[in-house]
């Protein structure tokens, strides 16, 4: 045997040994009733055709490789951005384990989150007892300043009433009466993670502004000059929010970041475990009602939240994940307009540097075709940036995009000659994208880690921008917003372009004629 106690082979090597190769081959031949290799090859080739694409796009019931996550994931994202807040998910505990691992794999940080661990009897009799016990246990064990309750599908299907349950729990003494327990219903069978983010953000603000579920008087808005800022569900939240704070400080704009996740997902290794770190303080969350305006960086993450804010009498403003020069210009000018502050020279210089960098490298990106998938706002932001670079966002796809979003993307594409032969796909999945990449090939694919399967299948090089990015580390530390963020996106795209040139010219004595030092 190849495998021996003296030298144990791992999974990379073990099954490449001759015995295993032979065994697997025999198993296939004798027991798997395999189709002839030519038939497999024929079907594989067929899936690359326009004929298959037509059938693929006619799919009605089945989603294959969806590019979206569920509401409760977004719910947890929004909740951890508040000071000392423990997200509490009412429902099955397996779901919660998913959210925690999902975030940990992306941010390389622990994510504190608990579940009410509903079981079969809870499903039959309702989850009230789980809520009562759950709140009491998590309050006692983890000493949070606030518990933000959201739900999984299970609790939603049986129709548990969070408002009533939390009230009962408080009456039963699970947590003190005045303890903050905002909540939101976040069923996974409606919307996606961006909807969940929206619901919890709205739930938390509503809790503070609207009399804390009847335990306090409603807040009266006394307008001040501050600006609230909401980032939305964002894989680059650590880098982005720090960049946004830097920009606000440079402009001397008084601001409140609502849902500040930049510290909780980037705690230092210094011997101290921080279950909660940073975040918007509860006081700031309450006082946010007095702000002059609220700005959302991602419209589709904050539709309901902004409606609530607008109802208080604030100006609300939503962007679509602005990336690049023109988009950042617009963002800064709105901040300047609302705050009455000037855009300082420091930022003008950063702008000039980004313009300079784009011009230096423009010939390499010009006319290149890209496929993009991701959340609706990210797609809009990246497509806008690509058009600005003279690239063509040939396919723009969001599984959680709707028709209205598709119209917006189309309008963006129509605004530039580089968007001429580009198309938008709302509600489609990555298997649709596969057909698109085969039938209308592009030079590069922009998407999250799951794009690597498309990269392998179709040979389209993947530029990892999005959420989640599991297989590359620390991208979340680098902003993609602001001029410096634009620079990061530019460099990430260029790096891949040059990697591609190198990898197509690096076989010695075969194709290395153009293997060059200078690109």
């Amino acid at each position: 045997m190849t495998q021996s106690a003296d030298k144990v082979l791992d999974h990379f090597e073990l099954f490449r040994q001759p015995e295993y190769k032979e065994m697997l081959e025999n198993k296939r031949k004798n027991f798997e009733n395999p189709l002839p290799a030519e038939e497999v090859e024929r079907v594989r080739e067929w899936t690359k055709t326009a004929d298959y694409r037509e059938k693929n796009f006619a799919r009605e019931g089945l989603t294959v490789n969806p590019a979206k996550a569920c509401q409760p994931l977004g719910a947890v994202f929004a909740a951890v951005g508040f000071e000392g807040t423990l997200p509490f998910v009412h429902g099955s505990q397996g779901c919660v384990a998913y959210y925690r691992s999902h975030f940990s794999r992306h941010f390389k940080e622990p994510t504190s989150c608990v579940s009410s661990s509903m079981t079969e009897d809870a499903a039959v009799f309702g989850g009230l007892n789980n809520m009562v016990d759950g709140l009491a246990n998590s309050y006692a064990l983890y000493k949070p300043k606030m518990i933000a309750v959201s739900t999984t599908c299970m609790a939603e299907v049986i129709g548990d009433d969070l408002n009533a349950f939390i009230k009962t729990s408080k009456e039963k003494g699970s947590v003190p009466q005045e303890f903050d327990v905002p909540f939101a219903h976040t069923p996974a069978f409606v919307g996606s993670h961006i909807t969940g983010y929206d619901n919890v953000m709205k739930g938390i603000l509503e809790h503070f502004w609207n009399g804390k579920a009847g335990t306090a008087p409603k807040l009266e808005r006394a307008p001040n000059g501050k600006i609230n800022f909401i980032g939305g569900f964002d894989g680059y939240t650590v880098g982005n929010l720090r960049e946004i704070k830097r920009i606000f400080n440079l402009m001397q704009v008084e601001h409140t970041i609502l849902g500040d996740t930049s510290d909780v997902w980037d705690t230092p290794t210094d011997g101290q475990f921080r279950m909660y770190d940073g975040g918007t303080t509860l006081e700031e969350a309450a006082n946010a009602i007095h702000a002059k305006a609220t700005i959302s960086m991602q419209q589709y993450c904050t539709e309901k939240t902004l409606k609530l804010v607008a109802e208080q009498g604030q100006e609300v403003l939503a962007f679509n994940h602005p990336v690049g020069v023109a988009a950042t210009d617009k963002f800064l000018m709105e901040i300047a307009r609302i705050s009455g502050k000037e855009i300082p020279d420091d930022l003008a210089r950063e702008r000039g540097r980004l313009v300079d960098a784009i011009a230096d490298s423009s010939s390499h990106i010009h006319g290149k075709k890209f496929a993009i998938y991701g959340d609706p706002d990210l797609c809009l932001g990246l497509a806008g940036f690509l058009l600005e670079l003279g690239a063509e966002p040939t396919h723009v796809l969001a599984t959680n995009g709707n028709k209205e979003w598709a119209t917006r993307v189309q309008a963006l594409l129509d605004s530039s000659p580089f968007g001429k032969n580009c198309h938008v796909y709302a509600g489609k999945d990555l298997w649709h994208m596969r057909s698109l990449l085969f039938t209308e090939p592009v030079d590069f694919l922009i998407g999250n880690t799951y794009g690597k399967y498309l990269e392998r299948d179709t040979g389209t090089p993947l530029i990892r921008i999005g959420f989640p990015v599991f297989d590359r580390h620390h991208h979340h530390r680098y902003p993609v917003w602001g001029y410096q963020g634009g620079m990061n996106v530019l460099v990430r795209i260029l790096d891949k372009i040059f990697d591609e040139i190198d990898s197509h010219s690096n076989i010695p004595a075969k194709n290395d004629f153009s293997f060059d030092i200078i690109r």
């Binding site: 423009s362 010939s363 000659p417």
Partner: protein, 465 residues
């Protein structure tokens, strides 16, 4: 063996050099060392010139005898491509240290040559002198001679220390090394009446390969290209060619002239840039070969090829002409003959608002005048500050220049296209002209220029500068 100073004198007085021809006797004696002005930013040194002229010879080891700086900066950075051997891309240097300076580094050099021959066994080793090793008195010619006889392999001294002069002088000194030690030392397996040399073509971005199919179609064989994509043996037997085309006259005119003198190989100066110039060059090659006794059916064959290639190129440029007509170009070139590029751009319907003549000869300037009229805005040497001012005022749509001007152009908000040595696209031949026009069109239509030209939108007055 001639000393460096004698060698310099020879090169200075190069009789075929257009610039020299135009000079009075007294002036000519001063040689072609343009007085360098200390403190003003300037180009490269003689070592660099020699290195870039010879480094494209692909199968030899290029060993730089000096401190790390010289090879460190010149190592494989010219996009000079090879269709085979890649030895030329490996950086070899003696990397001398303080001790070597005190005790001399000749032994170290000898050992380095030995190790190269033992480990790489190239057909030849080229040894480059540098300022420091020249100053301490290392005699590379003697070391090379000793190594050559010991190892039975050509070890070629390239005596062009940086302080000898400017880059262009170094190009010529590199050529002298070939004349002294390489050319005429081997015999080709066979010859044909259609064998030519191409001198002063470095196959940057594979430009030679865009021209070679045309020569193949004419039935012409490139016996040696000096030095793009060259093999040592080809250079060594290049004296058997029937005719020579001189591409970059500023770099290696001495090689072409001396080969004519020594071996009776006639040469002409031509260019691969621009449709008309490309055709002229093909005609000249055919004419020279016929004069040297080749059957004259090559003339008709060449005309047929030119007719079909020109028609094809024009047809491919046609769609761009509409988009480019009347667009204004500012041309700042280094080594490439500016008049040939001027003609090419005019072919594409563009207007030239100015061109640099820093390295042009009087003849070049006359041709530019001919092409652009007397109003021609000819630009002599220029500091970045002047260039910036000129760009701001020139009201051009695009600047074509080498990499070092790029950054000035951008700050002056001028769209820019790289046509110099570090460019990424090949612009030679009919194919190359189509590429150039395509790249200009691409550059002009890139959306980034809107940003480049405009002030930040919050910063009125928002006028295009």
């Amino acid at each position: 063996m001639t000393s460096l100073s004698e060698k310099l004198l020879q090169v200075f007085e190069e009789p075929a050099c257009g610039k020299n021809l135009a000079k009075a006797d007294k002036e000519r004696k001063q040689g072609c060392t343009k007085q360098l002005s200390p403190g003003a930013a300037a180009g490269g040194c003689a070592f660099d010139g020699a290195k870039i002229a010879l480094q494209p010879i692909t199968d030899v080891a290029h060993l730089v005898h000096g401190p790390i700086a010289c090879e460190g900066h010149s190592w494989d950075n010219r996009h000079s491509l090879s269709s085979g051997a890649t030895t030329y891309r490996t950086g070899f240097t003696t990397d001398i240290s303080e001790l070597d300076i005190v005790y001399g580094a000749e032994k170290r050099l000898y050992k380095a040559v030995k190790e190269i021959i033992e480990k790489y066994d190239p057909p030849a080793v080229f040894v480059y002198q540098t300022c420091v090793t020249a100053l301490i008195g290392d005699d590379i010619e003697v070391v090379c001679k000793a190594a050559s006889s010991k190892f039975g392999k050509p070890v070629i001294p390239v005596n062009a220390p940086g302080f000898a002069g400017v880059k262009n002088l170094g190009n010529k000194l590199g050529g002298e090394a070939l004349l002294d030690y390489v050319i005429g030392t081997q015999t080709p397996p066979f010859t044909t009446p259609y064998d030519i040399n191409i001198i002063g073509e470095f196959n940057l971005s594979g430009e030679l390969w865009q021209v070679k199919p045309l020569l193949d179609a004419m039935g012409v064989r490139v016996l040696a290209c000096i030095s793009g994509d060259a093999r040592y043996a080809e250079v060594a037997y290049s004296h058997h060619a029937r005719a020579t085309m001189m591409v970059c006259s500023k770099a290696m005119i001495n090689v072409a002239r001396k080969m004519e003198e020594r071996y009776g190989i006639p040469f002409f100066e031509g260019s691969f840039y621009g449709i008309g110039d490309m055709s002229d060059s093909l005609r000249q090659i055919a004419r020279l070969l016929v004069e040297r006794g080749a059957p004259d059916d090559i003339l008709a064959r060449t005309e047929r090829l030119i007719a079909s290639e020109e028609a094809r190129a024009w047809a491919r440029i046609e769609p761009y002409k509409q988009r480019l007509r009347g667009r204004k170009v500012l041309l700042i070139t280094g080594g490439v003959k500016s008049w040939s590029v001027v003609a090419a751009l005019q072919e594409a319907g563009m207007e030239i608002v100015g061109t640099s003549v820093k390295k042009s000869t009087k003849e070049d300037k006359d041709r530019i005048k001919e092409l652009m009229g007397d109003e021609a805005h000819m630009i002599e040497d220029m500091t970045p500050r002047e260039m910036y001012k000129m760009l701001k005022e020139a009201r051009a749509d695009i600047m074509l220049s080498g990499g070092r001007s790029q950054f000035v152009a951008l700050k002056a908000k001028m769209p820019w296209l790289d046509i110099n040595q570090e460019r990424h696209y090949a612009y030679a031949g009919y194919e190359g002209m189509v590429s150039l026009v395509h790249e200009i069109d691409k550059t002009l239509s890139n959306p980034v220029w809107d940003h480049v030209r405009a002030r930040p939108p919050w910063d009125p007055p928002n006028t295009a500068a």
